[in-house]
């Protein structure tokens, strides 16, 4: 249908783009992860597994990676728990207010990430809105310290930031469910509760999986929220990577950790895609 020249002209630019900005950089990072740094702070181009061994040997690296996954998992669960009921309500019960409410849920996405993270700083700090209020009503005598600079603050902020993503994918899945299936279920004697668990929820699983993947992958790689709100105990793996590439000047180790993260993310995407396929019935 199209000439070879046309096909080549259309395919080449994206191919070049992907090669130059993705494949080449990944390859470079892959190479770096097998190199090392000399005492004089220069890269030694000799191939070895030293960085990967470091990753397993030094507690702070693998522990932080695990903790980051644990934080991401909590963010995922909370985002789904908040996003699902909201999406369900909007899709099935909001009626004419649907579009307005939808926009309201989306609006936070237009606000800069930094602003939202700083907003939590203002709310959770020792002199913050929440602590001031708690002391004002005499619920506490001293500011609660665990609110800010803690994993709690990181999970809270990331949940706030990634809930709209979970909401969006779940909402899209719910909107795709033909309403006559819900009627058919009621017609066959299923109560609204039974209908939800036997028809609506199973058919929304692809959206739940997509939303969970979004929330997990994005929060796993996050470094701003832990930087601003995490404190020493709320540090995440990306913060370590950033410092290794920056102040610590250990690109090879940073590359090794990045590749481990990439591996986690890619295998997750692979599994969620397979699951989504298994649960889609269009």
């Amino acid at each position: 249908m199209f000439s070879r020249a046309y096909k080549a002209a259309v395919t080449l630019p994206p191919l070049l783009w992907v090669t130059a900005f993705l494949l080449a950089s990944y390859l470079l990072m892959f190479c770096y992860s097998f190199w090392s740094v000399s005492a004089a702070q220069s890269i030694v181009h000799s191939w070895n597994f030293y960085n990967y061994a470091q990753l397993l040997r030094v507690d702070v690296y693998w522990q932080t990676l695990l903790r980051s996954m644990w934080i991401a998992a909590r963010v995922t669960v909370f985002s789904l728990l908040l996003g699902y009921p909201l999406a369900y309500f909007l899709s099935f019960y909001a009626g004419k207010k649907k579009d307005l409410l939808y926009q309201l849920v989306i609006i936070p996405l237009w606000v800069s990430y930094l602003v939202r993270a700083y907003a939590w700083k203002t709310i959770l700090g020792s002199d913050g809105v929440l602590n001031t209020l708690l002391q004002y009503v005499h619920l506490t005598k001293h500011p609660l310290e665990f609110l800010l600079y803690s994993p709690f603050a990181v999970v809270l902020t990331l949940t706030h930031i990634y809930t709209p993503f979970a909401f969006l994918t779940i909402y899209a899945a719910l909107e795709h469910i033909p309403r006559n299936l819900v009627e058919a279920s009621h017609d066959l004697g299923a109560t609204p509760g039974q209908t939800f668990w036997k028809v609506i929820f199973p058919l929304s699983i692809p959206g739940v999986l997509a939303g969970a993947t979004f929330a997990f992958v994005l929060s796993l790689g996050d470094f701003l929220a832990p930087l601003l709100l995490g404190g020493p105990s709320g540090i995440m793996i990306s913060n370590i990577v950033v410092s290794l590439f920056g102040a610590a000047y250990n690109w090879p180790l940073g590359a090794a950790i990045s590749l481990c993260m990439l591996l986690v993310v890619v295998s997750l995407l692979f599994f969620s895609e397979r699951l989504e396929k298994k649960w889609s019935f269009s």
Binding site: E183, A184, H186, D187, L188, T191, K198, L203
Partner: protein, 361 residues
């Protein structure tokens, strides 16, 4: 009217379903107006109407997916319209089947029994029996997306009937099938209904389908019932011009009665009707091409010029200009060739007095 129906019901035994003065408004749009209708036990009732006549809305009110703006729906001694759909002993076959895509054919059919928490052994045997009845046992383990439209139709039927409802509602279930399969399903559906003995309310816009399958037809027009009668009665004795035209073909004769004579253009015949303007429906097959020498005792004869002949095989439709602006359509079993001027004849008893159908919004 309601009082009369209740009196009749008292004699014949109570009907299964009683619809009383049901109305439905969507905003200012009056979709249904003052519908009263009874459905007997084991009856096959068809709600026939054009699209937008309100027939699906009426069905959805009975099923419980819409609430009536006014009126009541009773099933025996139970006020049906106050129950949520999942408590009504009514099941529906949806227009596009609405099979659950994530469940197999078998699981779809078992759905109603599962949510009712019947014992598993009973579920299995009833599901197997229902699938057997609609000849879908071989596809028990298939997903709905893997079977054809006609097969999905059967599964939808089995899924509804397995619950042994008192009443089955069918919303244009055959409209998505091709013509041949459709005729076959009409026959199967009718015999299945006789076999299970459950009352069916069947919604369609297809008058032929309604004629073939129904015990009674309720003709709906712009949200009001035009006529409720058996197929033979509604065809032979249509009560309104709309009913006469919607079901089959007809000639509408506009005229007036004066002094015991009906006069419609060149046609006149004796009548016992009182004086005034009248409208008659005369079916094309009740008009004959008359030979010179034979005449009916109570026949009306007229001579006319053939305008058009359409040969359909078993029958032939002939349009005849009878003068004074009157064109009659005649259905014969075959004229034998091209015609020019013909004598037409019909029995005055076949000209059925019908009411004008006023325009409705």
């Amino acid at each position: 009217m309601t009082a009369v129906w209740d009196a009749v019901a008292g004699i014949l035994g109570r009907p299964l379903l009683r619809i009383r003065n049901v109305a439905k408004n969507f905003g200012k749009n009056k979709v249904l107006r003052d519908i009263s209708l009874d459905v007997a036990e084991g009856e096959f009732l068809t709600i026939l109407g054009e699209s937008g006549s309100g027939k699906t809305t009426l069905l959805r009110i009975i099923a419980g997916f819409e609430s009536a703006s006014a009126g009541e729906v009773w099933m025996e001694d139970e006020r049906l319209d106050r129950q949520p759909p999942y408590r009504r002993r009514v099941n529906t076959v949806f227009q596009h089947y609405a099979l659950f895509p994530h469940l197999t054919v078998e699981q779809n059919v078992a759905y109603g029994l599962r949510v009712a928490k019947r014992p598993e052994a009973e579920i299995l045997s009833r599901v197997a029996e229902a699938l057997e009845k609609v000849k879908m046992s071989v596809h028990a383990k298939s997903k709905p997306s893997k079977i054809s439209g006609g097969q999905q139709q059967r599964v939808a039927l089995a899924r509804a009937l397995v619950n042994r409802p008192r009443l089955l509602l069918l919303d244009e279930p055959l409209s998505a099938l091709d013509a041949n399969l459709r005729r076959q399903m009409q026959v199967e559906l009718k015999s299945l209904q006789r076999e299970v003995g459950i009352s069916f309310i069947f919604v369609t816009h297809d008058q032929e389908e309604a004629m073939v399958m129904s015990d009674r037809i309720a003709l709906l027009r712009s949200g009001e019932l035009e006529q409720v009668a058996t197929p033979r009665e509604i065809y032979g004795r249509p009560s309104t011009a709309y009913a006469a035209q919607f079901i089959g073909h007809t000639n509408l004769l506009k005229g007036e009665v004066r002094g015991g004579m009906s006069r419609c253009g060149p046609l006149t015949w004796q009548t016992s009707l009182p004086d005034g303007p009248v409208l008659f429906s005369l079916r094309p097959e009740n008009v004959r091409l008359a030979a010179e020498n034979t005449a009916l005792s109570n026949g009306v004869r007229v001579r006319g010029k053939v305008l058009h002949q359409a040969f359909h095989g078993a029958t032939e439709l002939i349009r005849v200009d009878c003068g004074a602006g009157l064109v009659l359509v005649v259905r014969t079993s075959g004229s034998g060739g091209a015609l020019d001027a013909v004598d037409l004849e019909f029995s005055a008893a076949d000209a059925v007095l019908v009411r004008e159908s006023p325009e409705r919004i």
